[in-house]
Symmetry: C2
Subunit: 314 residues, 2 copies
């Protein structure tokens, strides 16, 4: 099997590549290292080829799709908050990049795509847990809008050109090699100032977290068991964890137990943040897959491995 992983030097993509290599795939990584890291791929040998290319550049990226069997499309701006400041990042690195991917697949007859979408496509006030058939999906962040647009591009290429699509709406994915997100931020804040941890919002934001190993195992399991033209699955765990609890866990795991946890207040971390989110995972469970970690376990595990990776000593 010859696979492309866009954003393969990133957090989730690099974990997926570990699994693909283990099962014998030949992997082409399209990643311009804007947020991914070459070191996440450094342990691989000839099975993995890294192409340093910007997938927003159609002419440069498209030729690599020749002879490929499946595309795992992870590449995107990873910073949801950035959309509040710069409004065309998600449009270019999300929507336009996804167009470039599906169009390159059409041109080179690549049959199957996996698209990394997100729980944020559901927007606010969705029922918790949110099932895949919730509607209308009205994302409130520019990142969410680009993921929703990406889903529609995939579904239209399925409907018009016969592509096969797997769309996964991820809960908050956390684990080793994480390069952003609340746990990552808390560790860096405590590293800078071990006596205080500032938390954006009132700490009551509450979301479901999924460990990255569970996430990539779920992806490959669903792609092996399901074979519709278009397959849409939420991927998450069975429960949620509050930001307040995450702050406590990170403080415990750093050992900076004297740190004062200070809340900036307000129900949202930032404009476009969804305060409460929990995905319905019955459809995933029905495929025979279950997670190893629930949210709090995943948070604690991630805090430990990221403290190891980041290091607390300056």
């Amino acid at each position: 099997m010859r696979s492309i992983v866009t954003g393969g030097a990133g957090f989730i993509g690099s974990h997926l590549i570990d699994r693909l290599v283990a099962r014998g795939d030949e992997v082409l990584v399209l990643d311009n290292l804007s947020s991914g890291k070459a070191e996440f791929l450094a342990h691989h040998t000839s099975q993995v080829t890294h192409i340093d290319v910007d997938i927003t550049d159609f002419e440069a990226m498209s030729p690599h799709f020749k002879g490929v069997d499946v595309v795992y499309h992870f590449a995107a701006n990873p910073d949801i908050r950035l959309g509040t400041q710069i409004t065309d990042t998600d449009l270019k690195q999300g929507t336009l990049a996804t167009y470039n991917v599906v169009e390159s697949m059409r041109i080179h007859n690549v049959p199957t795509i996996m698209f990394a979408s997100s729980s944020v496509v559901y927007g606010e006030n969705a029922p918790m847990p949110t099932p895949e058939n919730h509607g209308p999906c009205m994302p409130i962040s520019l990142y969410g809008a680009s993921k929703s647009a990406g889903e529609s591009l995939v579904s239209s290429w399925v409907g018009t050109f016969g592509l096969q699509g797997y769309i996964f709406r991820f809960a908050n994915i956390i684990g080793d090699r994480g390069t952003h997100g609340v746990i990552f931020d808390f560790i860096h804040k405590l590293k800078r100032n071990p006596s205080e941890l500032e938390v954006l919002g009132d700490g009551r934001q509450e979301k479901s977290y999924m460990e990255v190993g569970d996430c990539v195992d779920a992806i490959l399991h669903v792609m092996e068991t399901e074979s519709e033209p278009l397959n849409l699955f939420n991927l998450g765990s069975h429960d949620t964890c509050s930001v307040r609890r995450i702050a406590e866990i990170v403080v415990e795991e750093t050992g900076y137990t004297d740190a004062a946890i200070v809340y900036t207040g307000g129900s949202r971390g930032w404009a476009g943040d969804i305060p409460r989110a929990m995905l319905g995972i019955d459809k995933m469970l029905a495929t025979g897959f279950n997670v190893k970690y629930n949210s709090e376990d995943a948070v604690r595990h991630t805090a430990r491995v990221l403290i190891e990776e980041i290091g607390l000593e300056n």
Copy 2:
């Protein structure tokens, strides 16, 4: 009230402008006349100003948003089938143009947008009638993908930047000044060859049709009665009409009653066509608005006025 109507020289936009002028609005029309026609605006005087600008050109279009109160965004590629041949038309004229619109509104503090979306965002196999909360929305045409992406851009600008949004998912809108669509096509085919009418598909495609006057009245009614930050409404009529019945009505109205109606066969008109579609309109009805025409009446009325506009004599 100072309004912008993008695509205001087009079919639905020009009808809306007639209503806006009647109520005293000052209207700025942004339209490059790629499918709109200057003659649809020719009866207006100083209340309507036409700017010949391509809204995919951000630098050229954005300055016109200064001092505007509300934007009605209709501009788009009107030809759904084109996406099967050219894959970036809907991306550019739909998704990117809508980004340009909402971003210009953010920059110039324009508070309110109306976005013209479509029943095709629901994709295939939706329940009939389809309510606004149907999910997941998985469009199968590239046009549908661009409308879905446009909705998400609007909702994210609402959620992140405080825009107020009215999103309308239109049934098939028909009536005078129509420049495309099945009735328009049938009349032109019969004009070329009065002895035969070729119908794409098996004629069993069945959709709901809404008369354009009903459509623009519904838009203005909903915008007057509803005031949520984001307002999503299907606009349609109470029933459907089959393509077979449309063909019969057009043949009757042309008077070419000897014409043989020939079906190319297959359940779809083209790849990406949705064979059956009917919008749930309970939410629209609950605002106190009702349509004057049902589907078949709208079809017959449209056949008459388009035969008048197009002319059957060569």
